[in-house]
Symmetry: C3
Subunit: 345 residues, 3 copies
Amino acid sequence: MITKTLKEIAALIGGTVDGENVTITGFNGIKEAKSGDLTFLADRKYLPLASHTKASAIIVSEDIGKISGPSVIFVKDPAGSFSKVVETFLKADHYVERGIHSTAVIGDEVYLGQNVSVGPCAIIQKGARIGDDTIIHGGCFIGFRTTIGANCEIYSLVTIRECCQIGDCVIIHSGAVIGADGFGFQFSGGKHAKIPQVGIVRIEDDVEIGANTTIDRARLHETVIGAGTKIDNLVQIGHNVIIGKNCLILAQAGISGSVVIEDNVVIAGQVGIAGHLTIGKGAVIAAQSGVIRDVEPGAKVFGSPAKPHIQAKRMDISLQNLPEAMRIIRDVLKRVGDLESKLKP
Amino acid sequence: MITKTLKEIAALIGGTVDGENVTITGFNGIKEAKSGDLTFLADRKYLPLASHTKASAIIVSEDIGKISGPSVIFVKDPAGSFSKVVETFLKADHYVERGIHSTAVIGDEVYLGQNVSVGPCAIIQKGARIGDDTIIHGGCFIGFRTTIGANCEIYSLVTIRECCQIGDCVIIHSGAVIGADGFGFQFSGGKHAKIPQVGIVRIEDDVEIGANTTIDRARLHETVIGAGTKIDNLVQIGHNVIIGKNCLILAQAGISGSVVIEDNVVIAGQVGIAGHLTIGKGAVIAAQSGVIRDVEPGAKVFGSPAKPHIQAKRMDISLQNLPEAMRIIRDVLKRVGDLESKLKP
Amino acid sequence: MITKTLKEIAALIGGTVDGENVTITGFNGIKEAKSGDLTFLADRKYLPLASHTKASAIIVSEDIGKISGPSVIFVKDPAGSFSKVVETFLKADHYVERGIHSTAVIGDEVYLGQNVSVGPCAIIQKGARIGDDTIIHGGCFIGFRTTIGANCEIYSLVTIRECCQIGDCVIIHSGAVIGADGFGFQFSGGKHAKIPQVGIVRIEDDVEIGANTTIDRARLHETVIGAGTKIDNLVQIGHNVIIGKNCLILAQAGISGSVVIEDNVVIAGQVGIAGHLTIGKGAVIAAQSGVIRDVEPGAKVFGSPAKPHIQAKRMDISLQNLPEAMRIIRDVLKRVGDLESKLKP
């Protein structure tokens, strides 16, 4: 860890220091922090914690008054400023070995931009192109004629198969597989014959893809992940899926082939979406939902099969009352029988 | 891309050309196609699209009449013929470097058949055997004494651990792990003691296994994937599972230990199957189902817990009507009380 | 396989031999065993199988009398003794090449304990520390300053990113990714800005982690897996999750960020747990459950959303009777209407 004074940090984020110009050697949450750490106050409601933190300094909002205990930096956006400091510290603490490692295997006709790093035993196949400042960590496999933009970070043991296109500022975490064959078979003569999968995956700028996530190549054309979309770990994206911009897709969700997901959609963990559906702009799909119909723009759905949020909630409450209702039904049935007997002529 | 004339293509698939002998440089779906592309008409209902496609040529069924616009190849099976053309084109466009790469690590007593390819940094451990024409891509790990048949393709970064047996014409996608230890522990003295997992995984001919899928080795004997079965991405197959022939298992399904799946079963995405069950021949399990009882041959089940398809559907409809039913019950209850009061002596 | 006589095996586990001192060349379950195999009788109820097994010898409990057919070893704990024999055999059958492979890439300032093995193309980055007798298999990536304890086995193609801490006697299966970034973004200006994830993952002693499982590093502090906890394949553990001791987490379960799981919890397959919840000591969560509230110590829950086991079961039974109940409600409604008509003045 590199050490910085509180004043150096305040200068970085345009903040005002109140208290001793302490030396910062680490970062931590307000509860876990120890001496030497910098922390931050994300929300006013945690203010009581601020005086009791063991942190040496805390970043707080300008509209918060004096805090007893740690030194303080006042800024407009404590969370964003804290992130900026952490990132700057990290970059200073070079854990990435730069340059092309001697054990990397670079194929013929590969283009490497300026300042590209390629880690040990990484494999870059014939005709691939890697943009400026991009880091390919150890053990990755970049396929034939695949292109990767500038300022990307591809962590260890990622596979990107042939002819895929990755934009700028894309982060792909370890173990992800981009461009494996889609799951397409034609049943004939009692067997499943493979339908060739010869399309590609195209990933736009500023996308992040989680560890061990799989994104299949299109049958013929392209599977697309739109700019700014963030995908968590162990997610499955089928062939020919088209995902819009700035979506969030959480861990272990599965999107079947040819689904269209418009911009700003949120798909929570372990959701499943059946093939060929459209999920409208800004829709939110709750965790573990199973979507079997198109979802309207802005709609919130949950359940398996998924239903509009209010309907699903009402169904769940009714379901909780159901055993009691069953007893009432049996009771009413008997009482109606009794009444009928009494009224018999 | 290699270029071919329409007549060359028609000759390959035994079709009849109608229209100009255009040069084909790519393939695409009927909607996405552009000039130079070959496309196909899978189903009569899309016929209106055929005259508006930008493709230079289209493969259609013999019983379809003249089409205005693109050149046409008439064949018996448009989808199958199209796949054949695509595959032939692909093979012509050699993106796989053949031969044993200088950085591959081949252990002692390894047998490599004729025309085997082993990619960069692939590891083949002592005593393994690889059949003729099989391709092991870069970064794979093939364990001690594991055997792989002929004509297989093992994509980058696959692990196949020791002593497993893989048949002929098997495709394994990147990141799959074959033969990791089954999840077996004995609880004693407040701890989970590991039960040794010393069986193997045996995969028969013509199987395809998806990216990042995991298939555990048996405790003692073998986990089996039957011939012709196709498994999608991120699927979990537990130890001692026996899967029959020509099954389809979709993404993120999980099969617990010692389950028996008979031939021709279809298991949809995100299904879970509890341990030691039997799924009968030809059964179909709908997406996200949780199977906790044996499933009869030919049965269709869904839900969690899974129920016969018709029952589950009826339950879901009832459930949708439930909030309304609850109101009716409360109303009836009141009315019956009123009637009872009236009839009181 | 190494061969041993029955007497040698009996000596190893302190058992008494009855029958011929046969030579053992393999192990198998009581049904699958063939000549030369050793098997065992786990449970008295399988006793009828013992006389029909093709195994050459069988380990049984001391309180079981003479068995006709195979030779017998009498012991106190047949299952545990059998596991011990299998493990000893296995260790004798060295399939792990020991030592540091010439193609391993060991960074500067790396500390390797005594008798450490590092497989082909494994990458150990600057400043990492590996304890005595630990085995790192081929193709692994061990990050900057990560520490791994003694007696660990890290299978092929595992990633452990920078600065993580792994205890003693930890097993990590192929393809697992430890220490990828947590999924944390701040939405501002219409975009998801990345929140730096600079904490670590700390894994205590005697933990086992399944193939292709992902455990994210903390945002700032640490994600913790407690001693003795066993995690299956394809599990997702989010950032800042704290898991206690001796838990079992089955395949494809997903634990969202900042969840606290106390000791001895069992989480079945495909369970999802929402963020920031606490799962009390000894709780059991049934397969495919979706947990959206804290779970009390010792509680058993299932369903999505998860409910106490008894309530969920009662709800499921009511649900199965619901279509019939709906018919009764309609019938009662009509009959009450009839009664009301009759009583009208």
